[in-house]
């Protein structure tokens, strides 16, 4: 007699047939991005970095921005996992593994993105062998490496010994690390007193908030598109909670942005005004107004206000995607424009040569590598989640 039984526990192991339409769609997008990235990854790894758009005046570009963004997603995901495992928030029950897996996937993606930016990536070992801990960069390399280990250990405990007391200790360590490391990437920029647009205390303060918001957005995608719940009420409650948190964080984000930009505007200091004008009215206006503000903030905020859409699985995930795209643009809007300032009057015109320019737009190589890294992260996340069964899919058996 054929009988459909739902297993009590989710099973591990990969099965193509069990992939849902949403998973297949996201896997296709990830695969397409990765294929588009193969050329860039090959070129960067085996030819070099001559074809990049950044240089000696706009020193850091898309890859550094993506590092900041992906590191934010990783730390934010950990903060979300803490809600289930450390603070025992009932409605988050069952989401922690997915959040931890997201952190474990996005952290290496962040490190890959920053690794591509190194002139001698094979010497990264020097940061471990001869670190200068006065350097924020060295602190971040060590911090994120340790964080990666903490995420792995946390995930192990989540699977194997969720009731272990030591699990809580690891979670506390990871929780503090996620806050300090997400703030640290802001400080990485902020310590440069020669860049007045960055050198404000507010910069490192906003990054942990943005990281948590990134984690919330990622959970909207996971809960909306991938997670399975025995009781759909839990999904509904999660949508409501995540929606409210997302609204609160969006409002906080708007206020921080206002504080940051208005401070720049009212200061009228030329070195601060140049990046400000670049963002609001200049070359990057579309990135700010269309991607960061419209797609990343206003539209999600409006959609959250419409319960029918906010509690719809597809739209909840779409809101998460939009907010994440907005955050990626926000990181770019922090990094590029600040470097469009002439460090000395007349410097960009004093000597001409490749990569001696204060105008910057990412080159096709940079876009390709970024697509490759993000595509690989998407594939790893969905396929790995299927393998580890972190989406709590019910196992269907035919007897």
């Amino acid at each position: 007699m054929a009988k459909k039984q739902e297993a009590k526990a989710a099973s591990k192991g990969f099965n193509w047939k069990s992939l849902t339409k949403a998973e297949l769609a996201v896997i296709s997008i990830g695969a397409l991005a990765f294929i588009l990235g193969v050329w860039g990854l090959y070129t960067r790894l085996f030819v070099g970095e001559r074809e990049v758009g950044y240089g000696s005046y706009v020193v850091w570009g898309l890859w550094v921005s993506m590092y900041l963004f992906l590191a934010g997603v990783a730390t934010g995901s950990y903060m979300i996992a803490v809600l289930e495992y450390l603070f025992n928030v009932p409605m988050f029950k069952g989401t922690g593994k997915a959040a931890l897996w997201a952190g474990l996937v996005t952290m290496p993606a962040a490190l890959a993105s920053i690794g591509m930016d190194l002139g001698h990536m094979e010497r990264i070992i020097n940061v471990y062998l001869r670190p200068n801990f006065m350097s924020l960069l060295a602190q971040m390399v060590w911090g994120y490496t340790l964080f990666l280990l903490v995420v792995i250990v946390t995930l192990w405990f989540a699977f194997k010994r969720p009731s272990d007391t030591f699990f809580k200790v690891v979670l506390w360590i990871g929780f503090f690390m996620s806050i300090f490391l997400s703030g640290g990437v802001g400080a990485l920029l902020g310590v440069n007193a020669s860049r007045p647009y960055w050198s404000v205390g507010l910069l490192s303060v906003q990054f942990p908030i943005f990281a948590f918001a990134s984690g919330v957005s990622l959970m909207l995608i996971v809960v909306g598109w991938f997670m399975h719940f025995k009781d759909e009420e839990q999904r509904y409650h999660l949508f409501r909670w995540l929606g409210w948190v997302a609204i609160a964080l969006s409002l906080a984000k708007i206020y921080i942005l206002w504080a940051y930009l208005s401070q720049a505007w009212y200061s009228q200091v030329p070195d601060v005004m140049v990046p400000f004008n670049e963002i609001i009215f200049g070359e990057y206006w579309w990135s700010f107004w269309i991607i960061q503000i419209a797609i990343g903030t206003v539209i999600p905020l409006v959609l959250h206000m419409i319960p029918k859409l906010a509690h719809n699985k597809f739209w909840a995930g779409a809101i998460g995607v939009m907010v994440l795209i907005g955050f990626a643009a926000a990181r770019a809007n922090i990094v590029f424009p600040a470097m469009s300032v002439e460090m000395l009057d007349g410097l960009p015109n004093a000597f001409f040569g490749p990569h001696l320019n204060i105008r910057y737009f990412p080159s096709s190589l940079e876009w390709s590598v970024t697509l490759g890294v993000i595509g690989a992260a998407i594939l790893a996340f969905v396929l790995g989640a299927e393998f580890l069964a972190v989406f709590n899919k019910p196992k269907t058996e035919v007897k």
Binding site: G48, R50, R130, N132, S135, S194, G346, A350, L356
Partner: protein, 247 residues
């Protein structure tokens, strides 16, 4: 009968010899650039490029051309900008591997073999005095003409051969350092230690760039750095540059 004054180059050369007899930590190398004498010929830039075999996109000593005022009250100033060799350099603490540091003589140097190419020092420098070497050569786009006197195969020999910054041969083959590294002016340390003045100083047609040990009260530069018409760039940052401008 009055003795004819010595050429300033001769005097600086003598200053240099005296300084080299002292312990490195007792020297205080400074550069003085007399903006009233600079004619904007860029000879120093070219001398530096030739001396250090700088590839396209790498420059240690550009000459900034700054227009001041509005017509009809307009003037043009030429401001050569080497590394400021700051007493408090913002570029060194940000290096994650201590590949850039102040050496015993107070010159900010780069250890090319240690540098990972993160460019954090480029971001931190308030003077834009560092550039990144992306591995270009000036001759790479020249046609290869068999039998031609000047074709790529002949002319690139000079570029491909090693340079001798920091007193060591640096070959550019196989993406070897300094390709991929941050690069900067080092006051031609390799020349200094050989008893020669920096290339930009020797080449300056107007004797506008002066160099020496400020700890030597008899040196040319010691006379000049305390004049009231001396300025340093971005003094408000507290970096204490060792490059002084006479205005």
């Amino acid at each position: 009968m009055a003795q004819e004054p010595k050429d300033v180059l001769v005097r600086m050369h003598e200053d240099l010899q005296r300084a080299l007899e002292k312990a490195p930590e007792d020297r205080r190398w400074v550069m003085v650039i007399d903006l009233r004498k600079c004619v904007g010929c860029h000879a120093c830039t070219i001398a530096c490029v030739a001396e250090n075999k700088l590839p396209p996109g790498v420059v240690y000593r550009p000459v900034l051309e700054q227009e001041r005022g509005t017509y009809p009250n307009v003037s043009r100033a030429f401001v050569p900008r080497p590394c400021m060799q700051c007493e408090n350099p913002p570029c060194t603490p940000v290096c994650p591997v201590t590949a850039t540091y102040k050496n015993a003589e107070g010159i900010v140097v780069v250890d090319y073999e240690q540098c990972i190419g993160c460019r954090a020092c480029l971001v931190a420098c308030p003077y834009g005095a560092r550039t990144s070497d992306f591995g270009y050569t000036y001759t790479e786009d020249l046609p290869v003409l068999e039998g031609a006197i000047v074709g790529r195969e002949t002319s690139d020999d000079y570029e491909v051969a090693a340079n001798y910054e920091y007193g060591k041969a640096w070959s550019r083959e196989n993406h070897g350092s300094p390709i991929g590294n941050a690069r900067k002016c080092h006051f031609c340390l390799h020349r200094i230690h050989a008893g020669e003045l920096p290339a930009c100083v020797s080449t300056c047609i107007g004797r506008a760039t002066l160099y020496g040990d400020a700890n030597d009260p008899d040196s040319v530069v010691a006379d000049l750095i305390n004049l009231p018409n001396v300025v340093r760039l971005k003094e408000e940052l507290g970096t204490e540059p060792r490059v002084y401008y006479l205005v």
